[in-house]
């Protein structure tokens, strides 16, 4: 059920795989900074799953943050407004039910959401490591600022 005016900021990724967890790192960063308006919900979606359909459906707008292995320098950020899951960039497949599977299910339920995706480029493959690379860690404040700005848009 839609709750009026909620914005869901959903970070996806596996924090055990270094930069693959950048989506979750952005959520942690925003949480630590604080100061977001009360209509914004931050959610660490982790490796995701169909469980995430519930918070997704409660939101009017969704801001997704995920890693992509598109060959660009690590830490590069793209802002996208995909309308269908087929328009999503190359996401990483270490998520279990991937973002595209999740969104396919979301659309099947008849949802037509307003979705903004911040895709953060990372190198691939990533080692099993519980921290970000220096390149992506350095980009983190700028990514968080971009997401924050997106949250404040009317």
């Amino acid at each position: 059920m839609k709750i009026d005016g909620r914005t869901l900021v959903l970070g996806i990724g596996n924090v055990l795989l270094g930069d693959e967890g950048v989506g979750v790192a952005v959520i942690d960063h925003l949480q630590a900074e604080g100061g977001l308006p009360s209509h914004v919900d931050l959610l660490d979606g982790g490796t995701g799953s169909l469980v995430l359909l519930e918070p997704m459906r409660e939101a009017r707008r969704m801001i997704l943050i995920d890693a992509t292995a598109d060959g660009q320098p690590p830490g590069t950020v793209q802002r996208l407004e995909p309308r269908f899951s087929t328009e999503y960039p190359v996401t990483l497949t270490a998520h279990d039910i991937g973002l595209r599977d999740l969104l396919d299910s979301f659309y099947l339920l008849g949802e037509e959401p307003e979705v903004v995706l911040f895709a953060v480029s990372i190198g691939w493959p990533q080692d099993m490591r519980y921290s970000l690379s220096p390149e992506v860690a350095a980009a983190l404040p700028a990514i968080a600022a971009a997401v924050r700005q997106e949250c404040l848009r009317p």
Binding site: T93, A94, D104, Y130
Partner: protein, 572 residues
């Protein structure tokens, strides 16, 4: 004529399982199963506080998070001889049951059904006839002709647009699809209902675990406080919510899942003689009623069956160094003592040694190392794990709930008990287990409420929480069941930090490569004899592999930047 076909990836959800199958005269004569991502969480855990391990292991998979956390806290509690309070046992059981029921239903509708249900055929169904069929099967309320017509219209749009991967990737129109259009429409309609329903049930995890998709666990108990009157605690209102979610779950399973399972299975009875595979079944069991250390109190019993002999159940001991061992002769690892030996997880090593081809490659060298999965064996035997193993062990141990429901299913399908040893049997066993576990969940809920009303609200023991109370060295095993099979974590603690940590996960049992004796593991064996009508559309292979509910996420991690969603099928 012999063809070698490759399916990569096999999992419907994203994953990294590759199957190479040799097909002769339309039948699989040999098969190789490979995990194409590497897992190395063991390395991340070394040197950390064992009380934190659950939070890391929970992240290895988004599908069965809670069971990894459970295995982890149990392994540490076992090492430190901590017994959790009764309420903690009940809450853990409730979370376990919620996970099983949700995951099994999601598996059936969202990961497996499309191997049997032709979505495109659904467009030809008559909504009125579908409504009659639905009402003949069950009392589920959403069954009028208008509802089915609306579903049909909605799906038509998606099928025609080609924008949804889940419907774009099927082998629609394949002659192995045998359901009438009306049954297909019914199943797709319930596919959507199940999506809606599943996200409600797992709120149980958020209520007890504080968070989803990664709920909190705690060594020594559960991190929730009960106070029936307090709005800040888990109070009467939240507990009532849990109770109603459990009732809804029972209704969904009994009125939707089980009737659909039986209706679909009745068109595919030939699959009761295909895909049997290994004759050995292993279950660690779970749902203790008198503590983790008393397996005889588990509702899902522990045991092993060899050669399909249901008259003899073998005891299983996770700590006996001669029982569970992992081999790497066909896996991209190396052992300090040589690759020919098997190591018990307490002695386990995680050193990578990739010798395979650089991707993209045509095929793997299956004579040498060909997978990132190690090969676990129980007393040197290859074992199948999962719902079928659990239900067979429970059946053989004389569990009356299981015996009764298995009997009902066999009778309704009019198939002999030997049909359990098959692809169909695996899928049916999952349904049987779901219904039974849903009812057990209600029982645990009743016990918890009774405890709380009697004033027993303890959920945590502080005993042995402080590291200075620990011995210099300790080791423990946390055994549990993931929805897809036996799962255990082994921890060795030295000087108050983790010295070694090993996971043996269900898909490793089932999807692993051959052992040093050349014995196939469950997937490889189950594919032998599987018919393949059309080499370019090997839906039959997917049926058998998907019947195991493969999930490579915790078995392997890494590799493959291409994000392929369409099964890649190749011939050699």
């Amino acid at each position: 004529m012999s063809n070698r076909i490759v399916i990569d990836p096999v999992t419907r959800i994203e994953g990294h399982l590759r199957i190479e199958a040799v097909v002769e005269n339309g039948v699989v004569t040999d098969a190789y199963s490979a995990g194409t991502m590497v897992r190395g969480i063991e390395k991340i855990l070394k040197g950390r506080d064992p009380r934190d391990a659950w939070a890391f292991t929970e992240r290895v998979c988004g599908v069965c998070t809670t069971v990894h956390a459970l295995a982890s806290v149990r392994s540490v509690e076992d090492a430190l001889s901590i017994t959790v309070p009764k309420n903690a046992e009940l809450v853990r059981n409730l979370m376990f049951c919620a996970q099983f029921v949700q995951d099994h239903v999601v598996h059936f509708y969202h990961l497996h059904a499309l191997d049997w249900v032709d979505v495109v055929s659904m467009l030809k169904a008559d909504p009125v006839a579908t409504s009659k069929l639905a009402q003949s099967l069950s009392a589920w309320p959403k069954s009028n002709p208008g509802h089915f017509a609306a579903v049909q219209t909605r799906m038509k749009k998606f099928v025609e647009s080609g924008q949804l991967g889940i419907f774009a990737n099927g082998y629609w129109g394949h002659k192995a699809y045998k359901l009438p259009p009306e049954v297909n429409l019914l199943a797709v309609s319930h596919y959507l209902d199940a999506l809606e329903w599943q996200k409600e049930l797992v709120k149980i995890h958020a209520i007890f675990g504080g968070n989803n998709p990664h709920p909190n666990y705690l060594v020594g108990g559960v991190p929730c406080s009960f106070n029936l009157e307090d709005v800040g605690a888990i109070n009467t209102e939240r507990l009532n919510h849990v109770g109603s979610l459990i009732n809804d779950a029972i209704a969904f399973v009994e009125q939707v899942y089980i009737p659909d399972l039986l209706a679909i299975a009745s068109f595919y009875k030939d699959w009761g003689a295909i895909g049997g595979g290994l004759p050995n079944y292993l279950a660690y069991g779970d749902l203790p009623t008198k503590g983790y250390n008393d397996p005889s109190s588990y509702l899902l019993p522990r045991g092993a069956i060899l050669n399909r002999n249901l008259n003899e159940i073998h005891e299983v001991n996770g700590k006996n160094l001669n029982e569970i061992k992992e081999y790497i002769n066909h896996s991209w690892y190396q052992y300090g003592g040589g690759d020919g030996v098997g190591l018990h997880p307490f002695k386990g090593e995680t050193e990578f040694n990739y010798t395979g081809p650089q991707p993209p490659y045509q095929h793997l060298n299956t004579d040498g190392k060909y997978s990132w999965l190690k090969t676990p064996r129980w007393k040197e035997n290859p074992m199948e794990v999962g719902p079928l193993s659990r239900m067979l062990v429970a059946y053989a141990k004389g569990n009356t709930d299981v015996k009764e429901l298995v009997g009902v299913v066999l009778k309704k399908l009019d198939v002999p008990i030997t049909a359990l040893f098959s692809t169909l049997g695996r899928t049916a066993a999952r349904g049987v287990e779901t219904q039974i576990v849903a009812h057990w969940m209600k029982g645990f809920y009743g016990d918890l409420i009774a405890n709380l009303k009697a004033g027993e609200t303890r959920t945590f023991t502080k005993e042995k929480w402080e590291p200075d109370t620990w011995p210099a060295t300790a080791e423990g095993v946390g055994m549990t069941e993931a929805p897809r099979g036996a799962l255990a974590h082994w921890v060795s603690i030295k000087d108050r930090v983790i010295d070694n940590y090993q996971l043996v996960v269900p898909t490793t049992w089932n999807a692993s490569p051959r052992d040093p004796k050349g014995q196939r593991s469950a997937y490889e064996q189950a594919l032998i004899g599987t018919p393949v009508a059309n080499l370019e559309q090997p839906v039959e292979i997917l049926r058998t592999i998907h019947s195991f509910d493969p999930c490579l996420a915790c078995a392997v991690h890494l590799y493959d930047p291409s994000g392929k969603h369409i099964h890649q099928v190749q011939f050699y």
